[in-house]
Subunit: 315 residues, 2 copies
């Protein structure tokens, strides 16, 4: 159930009809500030505003005709929900998204806008995974989980595959970690393409489940994180993602909420890019000297750009 470079290469072909090949951007100011030439992979400019369309479409496009006919179901209030809705609509199949009843109206509307059916649940009294499984059992719909799935991980790994084609001779790749789908996929792609490349993961200090899991040598679960990086609030790494992170990631470092905000502000004012808190986490680690000295050319993933105007205004 692990993944390999050829799974990611196959995913790259599979998702080409739906996912953008996002641009890689650079900034003289950032490079001067950090002493590292940074190559930003702009998944904030991806369809649906985040990298999630890669994994979701790789999973959905991998279904058989019979499986597709029964539709798909997922549980997420975030970027994965919209990605599943977009990919399902692209194939003309039914999608059911289990979302908390206190999710922002804008997210509910956006998900419904893509044609998905939204099932609401009470976060305090119900378990979204159980509800998703119940819907799958009743309807025969295929579950598209947010990260702990080889098809999802392979899809997300296409981010690093493209980045290494677009920016030559990188000595390192820096990626944020939530459940580890993006991190594990990117690590496999980069390391199996170029074994001498160095891979770094970054988590918010208040969302350090993978950091703790690596220290403990096993999956550690934490209390629900409160970080503004809402895409990185997983409470534990996946059973499939953690072993790949253990194998390939040199170090996981932590950034503070203020460091995340400073990176968002840099993107807005200097690079004219809207980046969501989770999307700024990898860059924040470089900006604030959290990575080992001596890096020269770093590929840095901007994972998404979906942020409320109200949150932006607080910057």
């Amino acid at each position: 159930m692990s993944i390999h470079l050829d799974d990611i290469q196959a995913a790259s072909k599979r998702i080409a009809p739906i996912a953008h090949r996002t641009p890689v951007m650079t900034s003289r100011s950032f490079d001067r500030l950090t002493g590292v030439a940074a190559f930003f992979k702009c998944e904030n400019l991806q369809r649906g505003g985040a990298f999630k369309i890669r994994g979701a479409s790789n999973a959905i496009f991998s279904l058989t005709v019979e499986e597709r006919a029964r539709g798909v179901v997922t549980y997420s209030s975030g970027n994965h929900a919209q990605a599943v809705a977009i990919a399902a609509a692209h194939c003309g199949i039914a999608a059911t998204i289990v979302m908390p009843d206190d999710a922002p109206r804008s997210k509910l509307d956006a998900t419904r806008g893509y044609g998905a059916k939204v099932v609401l649940f009470d976060r305090l009294r119900e378990d979204r995974v159980v509800i998703g499984q119940k819907i799958a059992a009743e309807t025969g719909a295929a579950i598209i989980p947010p990260f702990d799935d080889p098809r999802i991980m392979a899809g997300q790994g296409t981010v690093a595959l493209e980045l290494m084609e677009q920016a030559q001779d990188l000595d390192s790749i820096v990626v944020c970690i939530g459940g580890g789908g993006l991190m594990s996929g990117c690590a496999v792609a980069a390391k199996q393409l170029r074994p001498d490349i160095r891979i770094f993961g970054v988590e918010p200090a208040d969302g350090n489940d993978t950091f703790l899991s690596l220290q403990a040598g096993r999956r550690v679960s934490i209390d629900p994180p409160q970080t503004i990086a809402d895409g990185l609030r997983a409470q534990a790494p996946g059973t499939l993602t953690l072993p790949l992170i253990q194998q390939y990631v040199e170090q996981v470092v932590l950034v503070s909420e203020d460091e995340i905000r400073a990176a968002m502000r840099f993107f807005l004012t200097r690079m004219k890019l809207v980046v969501e808190p989770s999307g700024a986490v990898a860059a924040a680690a470089l900006m604030h000297g959290k990575l080992p000295a001596g890096l020269k050319r770093a590929g840095v993933v901007i994972s998404g750009g979906n942020v409320d105007m109200e949150m932006l205004a607080t910057l």
Copy 2:
């Protein structure tokens, strides 16, 4: 003193060492909303945050060795000032920028940060052009005017030259108008490359000097505009820019302040791009149905992205 396509093609080669070939972006949401396939030329991602580096560097790189040795001077509180400072620093020559003493500290600091000398003046009691000419007379520095200059106009025209290479088969080009440097250069490039292309200009309703000048058939001067599109507050079109606009531009349309804000909000929330008010004016015209029906593939210039965080917060 007019310009031709070959001036713009020469400018394109001349400025290549300093100006970015900015990306062209598209948005399914925008196309669905307007019924037009729009190709956005992202000069907000240009060096210095606006297209101005093109004209400024074309003018400065055109100077002889003797002229360069005496330095350059300009009068601007906006994007042109920083562009002149960047281009002068690139050549290692002295730049003097005449700026109002009430300009935002951030702009003064940024201009000085590029190594330029800033000379302050009192907007209510002094004339910036007179001060610039006095400095030029005393020091022998070359004046780099903001728009009414063939080298500037040719430099700005490279925006359309690139756009037409990057997006095939455009039926129209939509450009904002301040003093008309960008508009005239883009009109010459596009029309002399493809005489059947349609060219549209857009001004803020409270900054309609070119609109009125076209109606009157001569340069008309207006009171200082109050529009939030601070890059488009010219009080009259140039003596060199207006004739080219009369010759090539099919129509100049006007947009309201609210329409400009709505376009900025669309760029921020849907395309994850920070666009300054002036930069959103051309898109605002398309979004709000100000252009003739029947356009199919429009090239739309986003002229810049330099906007205060405070202003963004008001959106």
